[in-house]
């Protein structure tokens, strides 16, 4: 067998192994990325699945007095209560009215248990004057 062929065989083995790892990692970490509206209309379908919900943090809903912070995120038509169970620090960009992405599953009591929160410092920053630009 020539060196060139040997290289391809070795390479193939490596790539296959990595592909397998990638597949496993993918299965373990995939999350359906939907808005709160989509979630409400298809609640049954997403039961027990790992979800990434996108919505706006409702003004004044952030409740830090409980042991685990709770808040409400909403899309235009519906909203859901979220309980943060993760250990990571909540990003500074997470405030009233910011766009938030919460990742986790729905708990039996109907509250969404988020293990991760990402927040986008509201395109508010860009948007506010934008409506008036030429």
């Amino acid at each position: 067998m020539g060196a060139g062929k040997k290289f391809w065989v070795g390479g193939l083995i490596i790539v296959a192994a990595l592909g397998w790892l990638g597949f496993v990692g993918f299965q373990e970490s995939k999350a359906y990325y939907i808005t709160v509206d989509e979630f409400s209309s298809l609640r049954g379908e997403y039961a027990g699945k790992r979800l990434k919900l996108a919505g706006d943090v409702v003004e004044g809903s952030i409740d830090r007095s409980r042991p685990q912070m709770e808040f409400v995120i909403s899309s235009p038509r519906s909203s859901i209560r979220v309980r943060y169970t993760g250990a990571d620090i909540i990003p500074d960009t997470f405030t009233d009215g910011s766009k938030a992405l919460v990742e986790g599953t729905v708990a039996p009591d109907g509250v969404f248990e988020a293990r991760r929160i990402e927040a986008k410092c509201a395109s508010k920053y860009e948007a506010e004057y934008d409506e008036r630009t030429s």
């Binding site: 995939k30 990325y33 007095s65």
Partner: protein, 661 residues
């Protein structure tokens, strides 16, 4: 001034299009005069683009809030430095910064090379101008930083509108690393246009020699360095300013900068094989192409909003144009490549699996696989939505799962490569070269196991680090010994001459040393500990070996923000270890809060303390103990020094062709 900026952009666009046409015409008709005119047009276009940037800078410094970009990103009270950095604090301005760098680089390349590579230069200019014209057009028509604010009254009439003050710069961006991080990263993205332009020019003109390979390699190395520095600064910023306790989160924007870095790393290795052995020519052109495209893709990701990310600016319809442009570049280059296939035929074949060439090949395979995995994970939400209608995103776990083994494989290759000779090697020679490093690695392994380490990946990682470290030391020591025998030099002199005599090789090894230290830092991640403490003043909480006592809590005002500052006395195993003052700031404009981390860094571990808020009557403190992070920053520093050493003899080996003659 805003009108002047627009005028400059338009002038630059016209000139760049003229330069493009003139270069192509001149090159195909073989008319020096036309080519020369095209070159001048390219220089003039660059100058005009630089002037446009100057105009925006002027508007920023003059607090011209009639301009929407200034109103949205700056304010009167902002310090001078941040007024400048506010240019790239928003979307439109960063596009102009992009144009600015493209113009500077294009100008530099033309001035530097136009007398040397006369046959290639028209094509180089043409490619540079396509690139510049694309970004100029985006700036002018889609994302114009000179747009003026207007007030639309209820009846639909519009009138100019000048707010009393601007909205200010996002406080999260008010940090020294964030002032220099975007410019450096942008040069790191856009700089790859130069190697790409030379590669295309060489293909078109069917260059036989290796002069162009040298230019491409050097430029890639320089740009690779900047990209790397940009990535590291971004990590530093995330670590110190975002306050979530880590420096890398597989965020799409981070991934966007990592991908071109991975591919260019692959290129920097495989180009050596082409220079030494005349192999892999097609592959190298593909890598140059990919690097360039991924650089463009990096901007695309941050600007288009196609993938959700904490960093992504507001959505824009720029995305489509990026896709068209990338498709155009990809298709054009692949067609050219297909046409030039015979010219790129390999001069030799792989002699043996036990050869340096084959180690390089594996290195390339693994790096490209890593890039592919990152690409896949980053783009999966967009791809799945496109194909199945639902967005499926993958978390950091996916990236870790696949990239950790890849990283370890690379680390192993870093050690093996230098030990194997070119062409072919016999087992006996290998045994001799491997004996000491392998023994050292095994010794380290034994030490780790006795020390009670049980984590598989960490054990493998640290063992490999020891192995690679030993190979590097052995390379330097044995090389110096040869010189001592050969020239009768003393050890320090021999070592110095060895390194300076071949900065490319030994600079490369120093880069490898930096990488090894960085891996030590990565390994520390497995042992991160954290605790959330609820403390009243005077109370003490524990994390790891540390006891944290909340001594005081202060509130106050600075010019732009209010702060709440926890004063925490730290003791480690009972001994005092300083005071940390993590802070929370609430900015007046927009109510944005930022975190200032309390950090105590030692080679063994970082104590990282964040004040997160007040719950009830207790203050909430998150404390992380992050082992070995110090080595990551140290390793990156060494990586930079090694690269600079490699670039050292720029003048000598980059001398013009005339001198070689």
């Amino acid at each position: 001034m805003a009108d002047f900026g627009n005028f400059c952009l338009l002038l630059a666009l016209c000139l760049s299009l003229y330069a493009l046409i003139a270069s192509l015409t001149g090159a195909s008709l073989n008319r020096r005069r036309i080519v020369s005119s095209g070159e001048r047009a390219a220089l003039a276009a660059s100058a005009a683009a630089v002037l446009a940037f100057g105009a925006l800078l002027y508007l920023m410094l003059a607090d011209d809030f009639a301009t929407s970009h200034v109103a949205n990103n700056s304010s009167r009270s902002l310090p001078l430095l941040y007024k400048i950095s506010a240019i790239w604090g928003g979307h439109d301005g960063s596009m102009l910064l992009w144009v600015f760098f493209t113009a500077l680089l294009s100008g530099l390349v033309i001035v530097q090379n136009r007398r040397r590579y006369r046959d290639m230069m028209p094509w180089v200019v043409a490619v540079l101008m396509v690139n510049l014209a694309f970004f100029l057009a985006l700036n002018l028509f889609l994302s114009n930083p000179f747009d003026q604010l207007v007030r639309i009254s209820p009846d639909g009439a519009t009138a100019p509108f000048v707010p009393a003050d601007g909205r200010g710069l996002n406080p999260l961006l008010q940090y020294w690393a964030m002032v220099i991080h975007p410019p450096i990263l942008y040069v790191g993205f856009i700089g790859f246009v130069v190697p790409f332009a030379f590669a295309v020019a060489a293909l078109v003109t069917r260059q036989q020699g290796s002069a162009w390979v040298r230019i491409v390699r050097r430029w890639t190395l320089g740009v690779w360095l900047l990209l790397g520095v940009g990535i590291i600064l971004g990590g530093k910023w995330a670590y110190v300013v975002l306050g979530w306790g880590g420096y890398w989160g597989w965020d799409p924007v981070e991934n966007a900068s990592l991908m071109p870095w991975l591919v260019s790393t692959a290129f920097l290795h495989s180009i050596v094989v082409q220079e030494r052995r005349g192999m892999l020519k097609v592959w190298n052109v593909i890598l140059v192409l990919l690097t360039y495209l991924l650089g463009i893709f990096g901007t695309f990701l941050t600007r288009s909003g196609i993938v959700n990310s904490v960093h992504a600016f507001a959505d824009s319809n720029l995305g489509r144009f990026f896709v068209y442009y990338m498709a155009f570049v990809l298709a054009g280059t692949l067609l050219l490549l297909a046409d030039r296939q015979p010219y790129l035929r390999s001069e030799r074949r792989l002699d043996s699996m036990l050869s340096r060439e084959s180690a390089f090949l594996f290195n390339n395979l693994v790096l490209v696989a890593a890039c592919f995995a990152v690409f896949w994970g980053t783009m999966f939400p967009a791809l799945s939505e496109w194909i199945r209608g639902t967005q499926i995103s993958v978390g950091p776990l996916f990236f870790d799962k696949i990239n950790v083994p890849i990283g370890l494989l690379l680390l192993l290759l870093t050690g093996i490569g230098p030990l194997i000779a070119w062409h072919r090697t016999s087992a006996a020679a290998l045994k001799k070269a491997f004996f000491r490093p392998a023994a050292f690695g095994l010794l380290a392994l034994a030490g780790l196991l006795i020390g009670g380490l049980r984590n598989f990946y960490v054990t493998v990682c640290l063992t490999l680090c020891a192995f690679v470290l030993a190979t590097i030391v052995q390379e330097f020591a044995e090389g110096a010994l040869v010189r001592m025998r050969q020239h009768g030099e003393r050890f320090p002199a021999a070592l110095g001459r060895l390194v300076l005599g071949n900065t490319r090789r030994y600079g490369g090894y120093i880069v490898h040393l930096g990488v090894v230290l960085m891996f030590v830092g990565f390994a520390g991640n497995a042992f991160n500990r954290e605790a959330t403490l609820h403390l009243k003043t005077g109370e003490t909480g524990r994390v790891g070996d540390y006891a944290l006592t909340l001594a005081d809590f202060r509130q106050g005002r600075e010019a732009l923000y209010e702060y709440g500052r926890a004063v925490i006395e730290v003791t480690r195993n009972g001994r005092p270890a300083g005071t940390l003052t993590p802070e929370k700031r609430i900015f007046d404009s927009g109510g944005q809060t930022t975190t200032t981390v309390g950090l105590r860094s030692t080679p063994k571990e970082d104590l990282y303390v964040v004040f997160t808020g007040i719950t009830g009557d207790a203050f909430e403190i998150k404390a992380h103990v992050n082992p070995l992070v110090f080595w990551l920053w140290l390793g990156s520093g060494i990586l930079v020094l090694g690269t600079l050493l490699t670039l050292w003899n720029w003048k000598r080996s980059n001398r013009p062709r005339e001198a070689v003659r």
